[in-house]
């Protein structure tokens, strides 16, 4: 039984992510690992299994994965694969790979070849948002449902699925409530603390995550020891951040990270599954359309400006809602999905009058040190 609560409990889980999953497994629960934020977690939860997000480890040198993957591949995925090869994901009963980016797709196939789990499934995801894309994705989710049911030994009934949707939507609502607490000046919790909470949520069952969130929200509303006021209120955009070191460095230079647009943050928890009698259709819609990730192609507008509005206008809401006055675009090296996006998103944000810094890093602790100077210079420039 956990003794810590709230922020302390979130930190505890963040620091030892797989501890709770292993406890549950020992109690007979099945733990299903997944890449990225596109596998529908509701379907796993509905069958009384625990979804567990596979992440990397910036503190661990990549050694074994280099035998199988070129070094010019995304270091985050190389790290995930590396620690998988080293046995750190041996507690997973299942693995779900997805076609979100082509590297994630390919690592998923190698994962299944070299790291054995009792259950695996690969979900293909369209790149576009045409009607046919939604039909295809629903069909893919239906195929996924069948293999998941066979493994779970039970039916994924509509009632079970609607129940799981409710509880996951509840978590998303709680996360949005938590994010409201970053609006004040100073924010009531730091970017670092927020990341610890998000990663904790991705490591424990959704019900336990909801309880954690309620504790954290109550604690944070009442706290007197929150972040100090800083002139710089930053939004962080980009690739997965799964170690607090980057945000600690940025906040340590004298800023408050008040908002994010990453998959260990708003992209994952922003949109709900909308009510619909056909739960699979609703899930397909939420995951394919409502998740805002550059991997999905949004139709170009008639002009470049129209295209930027179509793709990025939600960032205006983040900037105004959270009173952001500067943006850091951060990208793990070799990420094409985000790399091609950088000039356009920069144009959009600068069009809003926001100063923008682009940082590219190699997903190692050592890689962060030289970035500090650039962040300091950026914050100075911001005044």
């Amino acid at each position: 039984m956990a003794e810590n609560k709230g922020l302390a409990r979130a930190r505890e889980i963040y620091q030892d992510r797989d501890k709770r999953a292993k406890e549950l497994r020992a109690q007979g629960k099945r733990i299903i690992g997944y890449f990225c934020i596109y596998p529908p977690l509701e379907m796993i939860t509905a069958l009384e299994m625990v979804p567990y997000r596979i992440l990397g480890d910036m503190t661990e040198a990549i050694t074994e994965a280099d035998a199988y993957l070129p070094t010019v591949v995304c270091p985050f995925l190389r790290s995930c694969f590396d620690i998988g090869l080293k046995g750190r994901y041996d507690f997973l009963d299942g693995f779900i790979g997805v076609h979100v980016c082509d590297e994630c797709e390919k690592v998923a196939h190698l994962w299944r070849y070299y790291i054995k789990h009792p259950y695996t499934h690969f979900i293909d995801i369209p790149h576009t948002l045409h009607d046919a894309s939604f039909e295809f994705f629903e069909a893919e989710l239906n195929t996924f449902r069948k293999t998941l049911e066979r493994f779970a030994g039970k039916e994924l009934s509509p009632e079970r699925l609607q129940g799981a949707i409710s509880i996951h939507n509840e978590q998303r609502a709680l996360v949005r409530e938590l994010y409201e607490l970053r609006k004040p000046d100073p924010p009531l919790l730091s970017g670092t603390e927020t990341l610890e909470i998000m990663m904790a949520l991705m490591s424990i069952p959704v019900g336990e995550g909801n309880q954690l969130l309620r504790e954290v929200i109550k604690e944070v509303k009442e706290r007197k020891d929150g972040p100090q006021k800083q002139s710089a209120r930053l939004l962080i955009w980009g690739t997965p951040i799964d170690n607090v070191a980057l945000l600690e460095m940025i906040e340590g230079c004298g800023s408050n990270v008040v908002m994010d647009d990453t998959c260990v943050g708003t992209r994952s928890y922003g949109p709900d599954v909308k009510p619909n009698e056909d739960a699979l259709k609703a899930i397909a819609h939420r995951y394919l359309k409502d998740i805002r990730c550059p991997r999905t192609f949004k139709e170009t507008g008639e002009t470049y400006r129209a295209d930027l509005e179509n793709r990025f206008n939600y960032l205006k809401g983040y900037a105004t809602g959270w009173n952001v006055n500067g943006v850091i675009l951060q990208s793990i090296k070799y990420c094409d999905t985000h790399g091609y996006e950088v000039p356009a998103v920069k144009d959009y944000l600068e069009g809003l009058g926001l100063p923008v810094l682009f940082l590219e890093h190699e997903y190692t602790m050592v890689a962060l040190a030289p970035l500090r100077t650039r962040v300091q210079a950026f914050l100075e420039m911001m005044g």
């Binding site: 035998a67 993957l69 076609h99 082509d102 894309s133 192609f297």
Partner: protein, 443 residues
């Protein structure tokens, strides 16, 4: 005298000259079409998914990927790469993309095709036809071009099931259904853009031509299993271009017939592409376009490159009797690129059709070694190479020489070092020839 000897090291097919002329004409057609006010498209290699539709609607397609290779071979790419990086794009993104982005920036600044652009350059298109096949760059890059020109983008979807999932009930059928629907949407999109209707009879003719081209190209490459191999990879890389970009043209069909006949003649006459074929090699993935004479030097040493990576080849033939809808024929042929290989991959227990394909071909083409060319800016083509290297050794006792390079950035490829390593690799190939014999592996 030395230069002449080098040129003769590879016995190039006579028909290659005509292929080159056809490809050059493709670029000029694009320029002329644009000057005449006719619609042009910049298209990704789309594995025959979009090209027949463009052809049937009289849209001339221009291929920035191929143009990137042409710029690299011409020495013009470097300036475009630098310009692209100055625009804020990371230096690790695809060399072809950086070439195009840099080129486009310059073109739009000047208001015309840059004077120094090789092969007459690429005129501004009416549509950017991208593809979701095999790598993200192929739609993200065209999306990024919107920064420089207000041209609509269409993304052709290319479903990619897992090997295991491909065999599950209904997956093939709903995949084809998806592709057909998407193609119909694409046709509607083009009809609105051009203000004219699709000529379905013409499309059927174009698709028929395409199918014949693919079949001939497949059969010609099957002939390369012969010892000595009649056709070197250098000829493959030249002759693959019309198959991708001009499969709907009658001229292409004629050329592939000629090519097939010439290769067959060589097989019958036991004429090899290399005078003294000592070693047979498989090359993966894209070659160093800027340094193709490298292969001539190796040919002098008796190295014959007899086959290349799977996905640059025609798909396995398909019986489409009873399928009259040209869009469905296209969808089935395109998906056959993967679907034709899934059964082999499943039987072999392989992670991916690319690697199971390597294993089949190294065996079928009796390769003594593979040259693996990881491309620093093409992660998609590079991704499985280390895994393939291991599988080839475990399964077939065939060694691999890994030579790092890039598709466009010639600074990465160290030819002198590669040739040194190749010299040492000869012993390795000899050693594993003996090992294969001992293990009864057949060649």
């Amino acid at each position: 005298m030395a230069t002449e000897e080098k040129k003769k090291a590879i016995n190039r097919l006579a028909v290659v000259r005509e292929f080159r002329a056809l490809v050059d004409k493709m670029y000029l057609d694009g320029i002329e079409a644009s000057r005449a006010g006719a619609p042009t498209a910049w298209a990704m290699v789309n594995w025959w998914q979009g090209d027949p539709i463009l052809k049937a609607m009289d849209v001339v397609a221009i291929y920035p990927e191929n143009y990137g290779a042409a710029c690299a071979a011409d020495g013009a790419a470097e300036a475009y790469l630098e310009r692209c990086e100055a625009e804020g794009f990371p230096s690790h993104v695809c060399g072809y993309a950086r070439n195009t982005l840099g080129y486009t920036t310059k073109m739009m600044e000047l208001g015309e095709i840059p004077a120094e652009a090789p092969l007459g350059g690429m005129a501004k298109p009416v549509v950017l036809l991208s593809s979701g096949a095999f790598c993200d760059a192929r739609y993200k890059w065209f999306q990024a071009l919107g920064r420089y020109m207000d041209v609509p983008v269409w993304v052709l979807e290319f479903p990619t099931p897992g090997v295991k999932e491909s065999a599950l009930e209904g997956v093939y059928e709903y995949t084809i259904k998806f592709m057909v629907k998407e193609l119909r949407e694409f046709v509607s999109f083009m009809e609105r853009l051009l203000g004219k209707k699709m000529d379905w009879d013409k499309l059927s003719e174009v698709v028929d031509n395409m199918e014949q081209v693919l079949r001939l190209w497949h059969e010609a490459n099957e002939l390369r299993k012969a010892v000595p191999c009649p056709m070197h990879s250098r000829d493959f890389w030249t002759c693959m271009v019309p198959c991708y970009y001009m499969s709907g043209e009658k001229e292409s069909l004629e050329l592939y017939r000629k090519l097939y006949d010439e290769v067959k003649q060589r097989v019958d006459g036991k004429i090899g592409a290399v005078a003294d074929e000592k070693y047979r090699l498989f090359f993966a993935e894209l070659p160093p376009w800027h340094s193709l004479r490298f292969f001539d030097t190796l040919a002098e040493r008796g190295w014959n490159f007899v086959i290349e990576s799977l996905y640059y080849h025609a798909p396995l033939p398909l019986d489409l009797e009873g399928v009259s809808d040209p869009l469905e024929r296209i969808a089935r042929y395109v998906h056959q690129v993967l679907a034709g290989r899934f059964p082999g991959a499943l039987r072999a227990g392989e992670a991916t059709t690319m690697v199971s394909g390597y294993l089949e071909w190294v065996r079928d083409y009796k390769c003594d070694g593979t040259m693996l060319h990881p491309l620093i800016s093409c992660r998609s083509a590079t991704f499985y190479l280390m895994h393939a290297r291991d599988r080839l050794m475990e399964s077939l006792k065939v060694p691999s020489l890994v030579v790092q390079g890039d598709i466009v950035d010639l600074r990465v490829f160290d030819q002198a070092q590669a040739l040194n390593e190749a010299e040492a690799f000869v012993e390795t190939m000899e050693h594993y020839r003996r090992v294969r014999k001992e293990e009864g592996l057949g060649w």
